[in-house]
Symmetry: C5
Subunit: 321 residues, 5 copies
């Protein structure tokens, strides 16, 4: 059926064609396309390698663009897929490794026959594809934002040891998005600075709009990165604060009871009051034989306790319980 | 009444007009303006999206500027609102989403008929709007400065756990202001470098003044960011210092009373002095039977206590209480 | 045999020659080559010094390139070896200090007579050598990636003191790779910007491909550096967390048993119930003489214990054991 | 007397004049000067605002320079005052808000009639003023250096909680100086790159000298900033080290006496040797009835003590006392 | 003798002269040289000030270069001395404040009459001086490397409090070297970009070589800085790890003996078994009267001890002793 399509394409040079390839399994098909549309082999390598920063390439017979689409996976990672776009005189060919993407909106719009039509619709479709791709960053970033808020709530609620790891992982994912968005920005800059023959000037104003969007993406990403930096610092300060609290409990309880235990220990000593000869050592622990000894000692212990509590209260250590 | 206004505008081409739109609810009105004043649809999108960095756009029939106004909200956040300015031959149109802004000074001045009038007053009004917008940064930053001093006082007074969060949040807000101010600076740079037809040279010297102001804003923002960095570091060192103090209390009290308790414990042991056969084990705790045993032991304990206190005093641990 | 080779080379000017020198021991041979192929003495110094960043040098009669190959050693260090390439009219000379390298793929391909042949194959071979050199970075980086995963597993499993050192060492090695890759990138940039006489334009498109690869290398290296930064932070937070856990154990056990010990100590005091005259001090520790005294005290101790456990449970300190 | 001065100035066009204004109180005087010397109102605003980065302004009839002088205040802050310089055909006007400055050297030199005189002495005086201003940075920075040494001594001697705050404050002041010095450097760069009509070429070589001085200022400031970064890190590590020492004291004393107390506690237990029927429970604490029980126990306790001390000695914990 | 030298110099215009001045004491001599060789007074100021970044100055009649030599002092500081070079038509004058330097190799070589002689030997000697100066960085950096290894060994062996200070000081010294080397690099860049009249093109290839060397110096310095950053981080983590170990010892010993002491304390209580009326309170501590009470209790204590050791073993706290 590729041959049918090619025949139809050659029979209708006055029409605009969008050839939409998904999945790279069928190598022979790719080689046919390479030959029929005069795609440079190195460019086809770029398509298949599937790891290429967004770029624009004016070498060869076709204009060649690479964009990347991002998706927020359920395990809080970001997946980025490549979409390669070749723009020829009256056709546009796109390659993707995945079958699902964010371009269905556009396909529906084109099938419905709606949308703007202009002098050079092929470039306009290229614009539309990149526009949809970039616009799809915003809902993904919104999901990231929700996730970050979740992390923030966890941090102020019941932080666990995995939290820091999750924050740092997300920071790294954002760095990846930042790198992609910067290349995307460079690509759009190159498009805007290219001459009229490469991209018609009346199309460029649309690309200027995409450019503004990618700058907004970069703003949001930088904002998230700053936020995650803050979360990291809060997490670490949180650990220190919890340590402080643990130490306070230990210190308060030890400081109160260790001296009291000592006092009790003193009066548990067995100094002998009676000598073998029946005389009495009046200096050996006379307190023990005082009729109110026990009561007085308990009162002294209470005073020590209250004194210490007052000391800790004044230091502000009782407050945060 | 928009139609009346439009008629009046068309009837008086020799006059300068400022059309001041606030709120974006009335879509049909916006579309009429778009048509009547030949505003590019993408520019109108920028207006309505309400999230756009300050920029200058010379595409289309009108000169198009975006500025952002900042407000310090009572919850210590910074709000930034967009003001979009279209400058035509003899009119200026401004769009804002909010009804309140910082331009009332300017409106009053114009209504009163005061203010400078020159060859190209439309550009001069554009300058005046941007000048007032930027000058409004200074009182907002002064409020931020007051808030930072408050935070600093809290830090040296009764720091709590939320403090770090507040400092870091403010740092992030300042980063936002910095980003806006940088774009504003770029915009003004572009204005200053534009040719005479876009902005008359005799107006540019006024924009040079606005440029100097935005550079001052950036200086202040950077100074605040440095200050907040310092506050963060002080907060963290504060946590460590408090931990140190807690540990010192624990260590002093434990180190004094644990050995004393041991001594008391020793003399609480029940080694038997008398054998079943009535002979005496003179080596089993003879201290307990000494007439001054108790007194001597108390004296020894006092010496241990004083020795330890001297040790801690020399280490400087008693000082900071 | 060098003389034979030279004769053969001179007798066949129409052929392309690749002279492949490994090891720098034979100084006289190097001097002969220097004279016969008009290599600049300073360039030969660069070759022998064996420490030179990747660069391109158009001085002298030959085109002179330096590339560096990296190897991942078993002790988790990265070794980088220099390969120096001189490109003349119909010959290419390469110098290496080591006998083993990553170019055997290429040699096999050439010996088999396969591979593309074009108008200026000498430049193409130079491209092929650099391409293989750069492509060899990917398996090395994959090994580094495996090692980093190993480190990450150790971190979450049984972290030891050496771990941080290993992470930081690897970070430093990656910095070295980064520095080399940046110079490589600059060199390729210079190649791409050079005029048609230096490097034919139809070869440049291949160098463009190498350029894209080195940019990918830089992406991976930056990603690893970010990952190692995260590992460092996790390691340090791990140390703090373990400290927290240690402190929690200490605090829970001390807080429970120190007060209980105090209570036991109180009832180990020897306050005398009987006076010498046989009367009884009813106020001296009457609890000891209560028939259920012991049972009641044990019950009270149990209540204290449960109360404290509840307190620690509510603080969440019992959870992470 | 301003009028007299003006008359004298107008009567002697062949002379060079330096009009030296200090304090901005007399608004009417400033307005007269503005009118008489054709100073641009926005430039006069810059003068009065008193907060302006060093800059050069070639707009208007006069050359306009702003420099900033720094002073080290007794409270360890840096004060920076603005000096505004207008250079006309045969006059130079300087404005300052303060009455005291660092220019007295220059005034004395001029009054004494010494100093170099050249073709365009007015530019030379402008150079001399800026030169003296910049040269005054060195003694101020020397004072800062002394203060930093003082802070360093405190850090290694008796560090207190305020120390970190003082270091961080000074760091911020240095950032301010750095910002000023950078603007000063940019200004001097602009002077050096300006054409011959603005600044005569034979004067520029003097400005080159000032330029070298401001670069030295930047070197010193960067060196101080690095030093303060080190002090901060040392302070924080100091806090940790003190904590370590506190913990060591606590651990050594607790580890020695808690087990010993336990042993003493064991022999303080009241297990009954005699049954009600007069038989003896030989298994209930027979140690207590051994004639050398006490001595043997004391020996065992001494062994435990020595064992622990040896353990702590081997761990190196006894060293740093 | 300066006059003799001058006469000899003037009598032999066809010869190349190197006038080598060390020490700046003899001001009159310096002034004579200034006059005889038409040195600009500001350049002579640069010479005497002795603090000037490496630079090239083409103003005036002579070419003027400043280089800096570094020395590693025994107290682990780096000293940097200035060497000022004036290059005229057939003479070269060098100034240094110190009498000792690294140029003796060169002097010996020249006296021996060896070394390359070319069309413009004066520039070649200038190159040779700078080359020797830069080449001298390598042994100095090797000394620094040895010192860093020493510090690293100390860190993993017996770290003390001064270590961090030493690391940070060295880092600061390296920053100084980095600053000098950057200026040196800029100077060499300027030399390479200068026109043929300033520096002959056939000499430039030698300067290219010096340029490559200074880039290597920068690589080494950056590598050292990274290493010192790592050492700092390891030192700080070391402090935390030691704290962890101290806390572990404390926790293990306290956790084991505090509960055991409590148990012993319980059986040290004096609850009375006999009532005054001779009846027995069977509920008051019956354990004490059991024939195997003591043995059973010791067994229970042993079980508690083993249980705790098992708990600590499973937590991995016993491993690192």
């Amino acid at each position: 059926d590729y041959n049918e399509l090619l025949q139809y394409f050659r029979a209708n040079p006055q029409l605009q064609h969008w050839i939409d390839i998904r999945g790279y399994r069928d190598i022979t098909l790719l080689e046919k396309i390479l030959a029929d549309f005069q795609i440079h082999p190195l460019q086809m390598e770029d398509v298949i390698s599937d790891y290429q920063r967004p770029k624009m390439d004016t070498e060869g017979k076709n204009l060649f663009f690479i964009s990347r689409m991002i998706t927020f996976l359920p395990d809080h990672c970001l997946d980025d897929d490549q979409i390669s776009i070749f723009v020829g005189a009256n056709y546009i060919i796109t390659f993707q490794s995945d079958y699902e993407d964010c371009l269905d909106v556009l396909r529906t719009r084109i099938k419905a026959g709606r949308g703007v039509v202009r002098k050079s619709p092929v470039h306009y479709i290229a614009y539309a594809i990149m526009d949809v791709t970039i616009d799809n960053y915003f809902p993904v970033l919104a999901q990231v934002g929700d996730y970050l808020e979740e992390l923030e709530d966890t941090l102020f609620g019941q932080p666990n040891k995995k939290l820091l790891n999750e924050i740092l992982n997300m920071k790294r994912e954002m760095l990846k998005v930042r790198r992609i968005a910067w290349s995307e920005r460079d690509k759009l800059n190159e498009i805007l600075r290219s001459d009229n023959n490469t991209i018609p000037d009346d199309i460029k104003i649309y690309f200027k709009d995409v450019y503004d969007h990618i700058v907004q993406v970069l703003d949001i990403v930088d904002n998230y990165r700053e936020l995650m930096g803050n979360l990291t610092e809060l997490y670490l300060s949180n650990v220190s604060n919890r340590m402080n609290e643990i130490m306070k409990v230990l210190t308060i309880i030890s400081s109160i009871f260790i001296p009291l235990s000592f006092v009790a220990g003193v009066y548990g000593m067995n100094f002998s009051r009676e000598n073998p000869d029946g005389t009495i050592n009046y200096l050996n622990m006379p307190e023990l034989y005082h009729p109110y000894g026990y009561i007085i000692l308990l009162a002294i212990m209470l005073l020590i306790l209250l004194g210490q509590l007052y000391f800790f209260y004044r230091k502000g250590w009782l407050r945060s319980f």
